[in-house]
């Protein structure tokens, strides 16, 4: 087998951190080599060394057996390395063709852009992908799946034979993921080598030939995929046996704490009714775009509802804005942690205390001692790893950031917690901690809602599971009452029936208009 890339003994340090420690990695021609590791293990740093963004302190990079002397971004692109980042690097207001040929547009007389040739070339380039993309379309008008195709096409047009894909499936839905895998497999056949970074271990079986697990900046193991199983990979990632990924819990459910009746908003959801009892975890699953997040935001008052009622502990709650929801004891842990859950530039302390400042101030003046005690306690209890409370949250890892968001609500002692994709982008070890925290809340008598796309997770964690399709709850399952295939069938809308919410499994006596 021909080796196209060798990275040998790569070390890279930042003040206070040794991000890569004599790391080694290689890549064969025409293979997909998966790179896995917890957040902060050093995956991105390694790829930044490969892309020329960082210079390694030690070690060498060899492409096709030749040592790379000065590795700038330009040199690595010329040498055939393309990196497709998680947050795609395309310019939203330019066309597909302009993005692909950015900076090297075909020109007439060296002056005017040869649009005709550019569009024609792009069409040729996109042909093997078998997708319907107009080279003239603006990037913002095409979905994330097609944007990824554009990135891949751009890499190919640069004659790259090594492509790095960082979490490529994160923004994609089920079908799109399958299409991407097909694409990767056909790229392989043309001799392109791919480094595939992903958190979703179950995907690896579909694409990867070899897997390298890294931990703490060092290579732990490189094996053929068929010599490894998921459990072993996870064990290597976390460095310990992960016996209880989904901690078991049996908490008797108490009185009803939240009831939603006939929640509707045109175009987002219709006639959604459900209830949550104290000590209960109610899961919400469905495909991306099914309306789960929107349902939660409607309950929370972040989106305005057309109709429907929300009851807290049996009393109707008039919730028009998040403020109202918070006042009634609802806390939302949003899907977009960095955009909606945190103020990244502020400290751990400021973020965690944001929701209680009004509670602990007299005439606007903060009772600092009191707040500080509460936050300090919470940060210790949550085992948030931060040098000090003054550390800006943007420097924390995903798992610790999520714990800061949770702290913000825990200090308020809410009655209902809505977790929207609480474990997204969080490494395996921290996930289990979040699960346990959710169960603790239930044990203390709170009602918990968990929205999640990870079927396995949401099925194992929730006492009841609501399946959402097309803005409606199409089915409710008790824990253990269904296989994941069954749940998926409902999520795909195979049992949805015709009318809006017509034959759903669970309908409260309809008082929605």
């Amino acid at each position: 087998m021909q080796t196209v890339l060798e990275m040998v003994g790569i070390s890279k340090s930042f003040p206070g951190v040794r991000a890569l420690d004599k790391m080694s990695f290689d890549l064969y021609k025409g293979e997909v080599h998966a790179l896995v590791g917890e957040n902060g293990a050093g995956k991105s740093t390694l790829m930044k060394v490969l892309s020329g963004l960082y210079t390694a302190d030690e070690g060498e990079v060899r492409l096709h057996g030749k040592k790379i002397e000065s590795a700038g971004i330009r040199q690595m692109i010329d040498a055939g390395v393309s990196v497709i980042y998680q947050e795609l690097n395309l310019i939203q207001h330019l066309s597909v063709a302009e993005n692909i040929y950015l900076g090297r547009e075909p020109r007439i007389a060296g002056l005017f852009i040869d649009w005709k040739k550019m569009y024609r070339d792009v069409e040729v380039l996109l042909k093997p992908f078998n997708v319907n993309i107009d080279p003239r379309a603006k990037i913002r008008s095409i979905g994330p799946a097609l944007q990824q195709v554009v990135e891949i096409a751009k890499a190919l047009s640069l004659n790259s034979d090594i492509i790095v894909m960082d979490e490529p499936t994160a923004p994609l839905t089920g079908n799109e993921v399958d299409r991407l895998f097909e694409m990767i497999n056909s790229l392989k056949k043309t001799g392109v080598s791919i480094i595939y970074i992903s958190h979703r271990l179950e995907e690896l079986a579909h694409v990867a030939d070899r897997v390298t697990v890294i931990r703490d900046g060092a290579m732990i193991t490189t094996k053929r995929l068929d010599e490894l199983d998921t459990e072993e990979i996870i064990r290597h990632m976390v460095g310990r046996q992960l016996t209880e990924q989904y901690p078991v819990m049996d908490i008797p459910a108490g009185d009803e704490v939240l009831r939603v009746e006939g929640l509707s908003r045109k175009g987002l959801c219709s006639d959604v009714s459900f209830s949550v009892r104290k000590g209960e975890i109610v899961g919400f699953t469905g495909l991306v775009g099914a309306g789960r997040t929107e349902i939660m935001q409607l309950i929370y008052g972040y989106l305005r509802k057309d109709s429907g009622k929300v009851f807290i502990e049996g009393k109707e709650a008039d919730i028009r804005r998040p403020r109202d929801a918070v006042r009634r004891g609802i806390g939302l842990i949003p899907e977009e942690r960095k955009k909606q859950g945190l103020v990244l530039g502020l400290s751990v302390f400021d973020n965690a205390s944001l929701t209680v400042l009004s509670k602990f101030s007299s005439f606007g003046l903060l009772r600092k001692k009191r707040i500080s005690d509460i936050v300090r306690d919470m940060v210790a209890k949550m085992e948030i790893k931060t040098p000090t409370l003054r550390q800006q949250v943007r420097f924390l890892s995903g798992g610790n950031q999520q714990k800061v968001v949770l702290s913000k609500w825990f200090v308020r002692d809410c009655k209902v917690y809505i977790f929207d994709e609480p474990t997204r982008g969080i490494d395996v070890g921290a996930k289990v901690e979040i699960y346990k925290l959710m169960q603790n809340l239930a044990r203390q008598g709170a009602g918990v809602i968990m929205v999640s796309s990870e079927l396995l997770e949401v099925m194992n964690m929730s006492d009841r599971l609501e399946v959402v399709f097309d803005g409606r709850i199409v089915k409710e399952f008790r824990k253990g009452a269904a296989s994941s295939e069954e749940v998926m069938e409902y999520a795909l809308g195979l049992h949805a029936g015709g009318g809006a919410g017509g034959d759903t499994a669970k309908q409260k006596p309809g008082d929605a208009q």
């Binding site: 972040y302 998040p322 530039g345 400021d350 929701t355 400042l357 003046l365 903060l366």
Partner: protein
């Protein structure tokens, strides 16, 4: 060693720059290094320094207020008019502050409830307030007030000019508000990420509007001082002040994107501008050239501030 130097530069860069400039000027000009000159600088600084303190609130939320100069003119003119008609001074002061508050309320509500960008709203307010001033004064200055009123801008307390005392009081009060109150913490949080603040159940719009009220009230305070000191309230008062005010805040390290900055930074920023104006005057450098230098200092300060953004 290198890291240490960097972190010192990072946190105290502007203070160091300020001190270096002071030392340099003290070296070059014997007049500069007198106590009297220093008091002079502080007094000159106080008028726009007070507004810079208010402006810090707005810029921390991620906004901007271009209308401070005009609001100063409007409240100053109304103040002068009321004094001329013989109203008691305390009442005049209260109403003047009320005028400022009204202007701020208008811009604040337009920005929050009306969802118009602060740049546009306050650009509008800049013209509106200037126009109202011209209407009210019919284009002529209103001058000649009682010694009691002139004491505010020209008097001394224990040999310290009153404007300086007011300036320092405003700085201290603002520092207290920003660090010790709910409002202060919310202002930083709103500038950092307004969506998160709203989703945390906080009335972000209300607190953001307050920032605009605060800056306009500081403009009214400056108006009272300026009217008293010049013994005149005129339609041309405060023209172009917004530039020096914003410059002081930016030089002081407050990020125009919001969420990061401090009152002490603004204080130093305002003093730096005062020192440079004063120093260059003493050295006989042409005012035209002074503008150029000030411009470079603004850019240099932001460049210095960039060091903070980079992880060390």
């Amino acid at each position: 060693m290198k890291i240490n130097l960097r972190s010192i530069l990072k946190n105290y860069g502007i203070v160091i720059a300020f001190l270096l400039i002071c030392v340099l000027l003290a070296f070059l000009s014997p007049v500069f290094r007198t106590v009297n000159n220093f008091i002079l600088i502080l007094r000159q600084t106080s008028i726009y320094g007070i507004m810079a303190v208010g402006m810090t609130f707005v810029i921390l939320t991620g906004g901007i207020d271009l209308s401070v100069g005009s609001v100063l003119a409007l409240s100053g003119a109304i103040c002068a008019g009321m004094l001329k008609s013989g109203l008691p001074i305390p009442l005049v002061i209260l109403v003047t502050l009320g005028v400022g508050m009204g202007c701020g309320l208008f811009t604040g509500v337009s920005v929050t409830a009306g969802r118009i960008t602060p740049f546009v709203v306050t650009l509008g307010m800049l013209t509106i307030a200037r126009g109202l001033t011209l209407i009210y004064t019919k284009g002529y200055p209103i001058s000649g007030f009682s010694p009691e009123f002139r004491f505010i801008g020209g008097g001394y307390f224990l040999e310290v000019p009153i404007p300086i005392i007011i300036f320092l009081a405003v700085v201290l009060l603002a520092w207290g508000v920003l660090t010790q109150t709910r409002l202060g913490r919310y202002i930083y949080a709103i500038g950092g990420n307004e969506e998160t603040v709203k989703l945390s159940g906080i009335n972000a719009g209300f607190f953001k509007a307050i920032a605009y009220v605060i800056v306009s009230v500081t403009a009214a305070i400056s108006a009272i001082i300026s009217t008293s000191r010049l013994n005149s309230g005129g339609p041309q008062a405060g023209v172009g002040y917004e530039l020096d005010v914003i410059a002081a805040v930016v030089i002081g390290g407050t990020s125009l994107a919001g969420g990061r900055g401090s009152i002490w930074g603004t204080f130093i920023g305002a003093l730096l501008i005062g020192v440079i104006n004063n120093g260059m005057n003493l050295l006989g450098i042409s005012p035209y050239f002074q503008q150029v230098v000030k411009g470079f200092i603004i850019i240099g300060a932001v460049l210095l501030d960039r060091l903070r953004e980079e992880p060390s």
